[in-house]
Amino acid sequence: MSAAPARLAVRGVEKAFGGITVLAGVSFDVAPGTLHALLGGNGAGKSTLMRVVLGLERADAGELRLDGADYRPLGPADARAHGVVMVPQERTLCLHLSVEENVTLGLPLGRFGLVGARPRRELAARALSAAAGDAARIDLGARASSLSVADQQLVEIARALAHAGLADDGAVRAKVLVLDEPTSSLGRRDAERLFERVAALTARGVAVVLVSHFLDEVLAHCDGYTVLRDGRVEGEGTPREAGQQRIVREMLGELPRRAERTARPRGDAGEALRVTDLSGERAPRGASFVVRHGEILGVAGLVGSGRTELLRAVAGLDRRVSGTVTVSAPGGLGMLSEDRGGEGLMLSRSVSDNVTLSPRGPRVVSPARLRSEARGWMERLSVRAAGPAQRVRELSGGNQQKVALARLLREDHGVLLVDEPTRGIDVGSKAQILDLLRELAAQGKAIVVVSSQLDELLEVADRIAVLRRGVLGEARDVAAWDAHRLLEEAAA
């Protein structure tokens, strides 16, 4: 292995944004024809590192080498010319266009901006064959929207390969292919199929870098791994040799001794929410759980595990395929969205308008009265704003979240579904919001908190259940969990 130069060699790469160090001297090698996993929690620096490799960011220090030669990509087009391509995590297909058009989208055009229909079609066919194999029945003329998610994923890979170019005999010119969370929206069988295709690509000499949260995939398929934490390499080796426990430890670091927490005594509080065998379009799949008055149920899960879908199905915002939801609490059920701008808040309206938005209440309202009421909520949740008339758009993420919570609290729902309550907000607000959730539970509310922040769940929840690929596991007392166990179960 040391004889041949690595396909991609990263040496001491550093990168800082506005004084905050994101990459602090990262080094690792990927050999040709291997599948290499890049692991790490949120904010570990994986994305930034890949952006550097793709030429989307320039490293502050360090160097990149490609097959032993100096590699300094000037931009994504230059990276492509070097044979370095990526399939991003979010889907980027134009659903109204055909497979062929999608595969050849963004390719450099010929003279006069035209590309002959025939060469274009042939290139698309070769790329698709390389990415999906000849067994796959993907019609070049089909609309992208008519394909399954798994097939769309293969079309994305075909596009990446086409961008790097293919020889006339179908030989792939791509040298490095980065796959960012490719299986997060796939079922287990589709994920296995994808890895078969990836294996076919590595067999042709392509070095594939896999960014993934799913440790079982990494253990089963990857030839090497690198763990990043806080911009540093904290572990590397061969996944099968290292084993899951070591990798988890490398990802999370040494945990501080946590104060023993057990579920608060619930006494014989009655059920507030009972969900039985609930299934949605994609997720959840047959989820069942019970939340009692005064209890916080935490749901842990990785990106794409169906966390938000679970809450939306419970709230009735998405179609339920099967199952029942029984709410037996005064004030019914309210939900805090993880997507504050998209559906949580009216960003263009004032704090007062947001806090007091309600389907109920008197038909004739006094804006002055509502403003003073909103001011009361602002004080209670210590929202920092110029006043109730200030537009929510102008507030910080933490204060926006408090405004969204205030609206929910004003409605006085007996059951609260809270999706990623601390995403994108500062540490101070985070602590306040978690305190508030505990306070609400003490008042007898039943709360379901979904979060990708494991420490947060361990801090706030009474019981925790792990969601994995749409399947919700058993809810166990918080004392039975720690971060390692949660991650192992979520990523297993």
């Binding site: 939900m335 998209g342 009216m346 309206r349 308008d353 938005l357 004739v364 309202v365 537009r391």
Partner: protein, 326 residues
């Protein structure tokens, strides 16, 4: 010293921005005052006559009343392109009813009711079936024009207006129609500000998903909004008939654009979530003043069109500036 000055100026500009953010109609008000004063200075002996002011008020009534409905629609993030056709249809229906011997009140009520029914139909398509309002009303714009022509047999319908012609013009110069329009404006403004429904209208336009998450039914809100707007267009049709005194199926072609322009000049972005009755009325007045002033000055039609277009663009630019981060 200079830095202190600079700080003071910054404070003032920030305060100005704050005031503008809360009262978006201040921009069109300022424009109206400026244009009015300019025309007043240019032709003081004719422009400032009471009679001229009254005439301008009368000529704003149709666009103004329709703008009340359009304001609600645009606040929900929708649009209605069929205003002109609804108004023309209303004049035809009123004329046909009068010709067939109906009384003026019953004829006018029929006209308004037809406007409301059309609005409700659009509201069902836009609300319940989630169709694009642009496309739906593009269809009704053409279809209703056809219905009007069919009812009128492709001619103007002559009839005895039976007093409906004095709605806007009377011996004193100020018909009761002006007060009806003013009353409607106050009613709609109060509804938007002081009722639960009005707040839901803004919520749906600002962020429909958030409104739904909060338990509001956007399709219900839209159905109501388009129905109320249809009623307003029907009232606009009654006012139009009062001026025309005949039922004219080819009337008001392009009125929808004047109405939309009035609302946009009044500070409502087409994206929805914002807008005010005061702003829209000011926008309508502004266009009338420009139109009238152009006649008084002897400006050719093309100059008037350029000025009106320029004001629309400036209004939108100001709107963008309001959102600009510091």
């Amino acid at each position: 010293m200079t830095s202190a000055q600079g700080a003071g100026r910054r404070g003032v500009s920030q305060r100005v921005r704050g005031v503008l953010a809360e009262r978006p109609w201040i921009g069109p008000l300022a424009a109206l005052v400026v244009v009015f004063v300019l025309f007043g200075l240019a032709t003081p002996e004719t422009f400032l006559r009471t009679q001229n002011l009254l005439t301008m008020a009368r000529q704003t009534v149709v666009v103004g009343v329709c703008a009340l409905g359009m304001t609600m629609i645009i606040v929900t993030g929708g649009i209605d392109l069929s205003v002109g056709s609804v108004v023309a249809l209303t004049t035809v229906i009123i004329a046909a009813r009068l010709r067939d011997g109906a009384g003026p009140v019953s004829a006018a009520v029929t006209g308004v009711a037809v406007g409301g029914a059309v609005g409700a139909a659009v509201g069902v398509l836009v609300g319940r079936f989630r169709m694009m309002p642009f496309v739906v009303t593009l269809g009704t714009m053409s279809a209703l024009r056809g219905v009007a022509k069919g009812i009128a047999k492709e001619q103007k319908i002559d009839c005895d207006p039976r007093g409906l012609d004095t709605l806007l013009v009377s011996a004193q110069g100020m018909g009761p129609g002006l007060f009806v329009a003013l009353g409607l404006a106050v009613l709609v403004a109060l509804t938007l500000t002081y009722t639960r429904f009005g707040r839901h209208v803004f919520a749906v336009g600002s962020n429909e998903a958030a409104a739904r998450l909060a338990g509001i039914d956007p399709s219900h809100v839209k159905l109501l909004v388009y129905t109320l707007a249809g009623l307003a267009f029907g009232v606009g049709g009654v006012m139009e008939f009062s001026t025309l005194t005949v039922g004219d199926p080819t009337d008001s072609i392009g009125l929808e654009l004047d109405v939309i322009a009035a609302v946009v000049i009044g500070g409502a972005p087409l994206a929805g979530g914002e807008g005010s009755v005061v702003g829209s009325i000011l926008g309508a007045l502004l266009m009338t003043v420009i139109k009238t002033g152009a006649v008084h000055l002897g400006l050719p039609t093309w100059v008037q069109e350029i000025v009106t277009g320029g004001i629309i663009v400036v209004a939108v630019a100001l709107d963008r500036a309001r959102y600009a981060r510091r």
